[in-house]
Amino acid sequence: MSNAKKMRRNQRIGFAFLYAAATLTIVVILTIVLYIFIKGAPYISWEFLTSAPEGNGTEGGIFPMIVNTVLLVGLTLLFVTPVGIGAAIYMTEYAKQGFWVKLIRQATENLSAIPSIIFGLFGFIFFGKVLGLGWSLLNGALTAAIVVLPLIVRTAEEAILSVPQIYREGSLALGASRWQTIRKVVLPAATPGILSGVVLSIGRVVGETAALLFTLGSADRMATSVMDSARSLSLHVYILAHDGIGFDQVYATSTVLIVVVLILNLSAVFLTRKRRGQ
């Protein structure tokens, strides 16, 4: 075989492999989503979305879980965004690039590699037992905040670093202080990127189970205070599936979850595009 022919044949094999890999990825994702959809969609109704569960969740709806999820997400963001964005600003704009910044960066990287059940155990023992928060919305939110902290810090850092240096110089040369420059020029320019990290974090919290099982608790009622135990949508799926009861409810709740996460991820993509000015 001539060399050119060989090259062409290898190329064809290479492309065929890449094509197959890409197709397989899409097929796997579509199969899962469609399977859940087909099984779950028939049971979704206005009634299902707006009523409370009955018989341990084998019947009735998921309204309390929707509310609990929203509360959990809101409370988590309340804790994690100021800390995460603050840390990112500190590391990019203030800190001398050296040992400490490297250490903090390494620590956040490592934090993101820890399985979330470990955070769950930590939350259970530290927030739950030591601080006496028990199974509660507050405990769940604090634990979830730790889970998504690395994601928030990393995306915020990237967003801040991608703000051109000439904006900072322009502001400082007008007599602005560093803080004014950060607040009025750097952060607004970095906002779309920071928001896309926040949106991804919301998705992560909505989908989290292991970290919440021992911290948020599993009461299938609507939480009325931050000290109430509160089951989120994902936990609802987990608990029903685990107990082997009400599989129609499991699929229906899963469908709702998938739609929510899909919407969140698409808005993150949209925000990232906006940042690139497309």
Partner: protein, 249 residues
């Protein structure tokens, strides 16, 4: 004298970027700095509003006096200094906000809150920068939608809005086309009436066209400074002559 520089040395770490610079700039005049890349002219410009403070490891010896006051003395307010000594950069750098907000940025950070006052400053500054007519219907559109030349005039207007006394320009036309360059040069000569201007330029014709006096830098030394005509036609130093006639650089 608006600006007086005495025996100024400047270092980046161990590297000495400027050596014993002595220079004076008169009020309401235009001073051009020329010289090959890396000769220290931009570095020197940055010492005049202490933008060099932002570079880690930079330090200076000597004096830079503005209206007789040494700007490197301990109690000098850098923020007020940078308001009085504005700077226009090589690449137009409007902030990603509206035309209006770009100009109002400086006055706002210095405490101006009243809407009418801000509007007046914005209009005046744009007029002074010969940009008002072109953008008056687009004040609330993004500044990034303007052309490169318009963006640079916007940056000049943004500097003028904080009512500076001195305007430093670091190769302000190097990223622009010839027509935009011409307009900026015209603008610079008009601004002389109200401001003292120091311009760094790579383009010797530009120095010849706009400046009253010219200073030639080489390897961190100020080789020669004088009347622009003299520098270009009868320079005293043979190095200046070699550069002017294009033998190097």
């Amino acid at each position: 004298m608006k600006i007086e520089v005495k025996e100024l040395d400047m270092y980046y770490g161990d590297f000495q970027a400027l050596q014993k610079i002595n220079l004076q700039v008169e009020s309401n005049s235009i001073m051009a700095f020329i010289g090959p890349s890396g000769c220290g002219k931009s570095t020197f410009l940055k010492t005049l509003n202490r933008m060099n403070d932002l570079i880690p490891g930079s330090r200076i010896n000597g004096e830079v006096r503005i209206d007789g006051e040494n700007i490197y003395e301990g109690d000098v307010d850098v923020i007020d200094l940078r308001r009085r000594v504005g700077m226009v950069f090589q690449k137009p750098n409007p902030f990603p906000m509206t035309v209006f907000d770009n100009i109002a940025y400086g006055p706002r950070i210095h405490g101006e809150r009243k809407k009418e006052a801000l509007e007046q400053i914005v209009i005046e500054s744009l007029e002074q920068a010969a940009l008002f007519e072109e953008v008056k219907d687009r004040l609330h559109k993004s500044a990034l939608s303007l052309s490169g030349g318009q963006q640079q005039r916007l940056c000049i207007a943004r500097v003028l809005a904080v009512k500076p006394e001195i305007v430093l320009m670091d190769e302000p036309t190097s990223a622009l086309d010839p027509i935009s360059t011409g307009r900026i040069e015209e603008l610079i000569t008009e601004l002389k009436e109200r401001y003292t201007i120091v311009i760094v330029t790579h383009n010797m014709q530009q120095a010849g066209r706009v400046s009253d006096r010219t200073a030639f830098f080489l390897m961190g030394d100020l080789i020669e400074e004088g009347d622009t005509d003299t520098i270009f036609h009868t320079p005293k130093n043979p190095k200046t002559e070699d550069y002017i006639t294009g033998r190097f650089g």
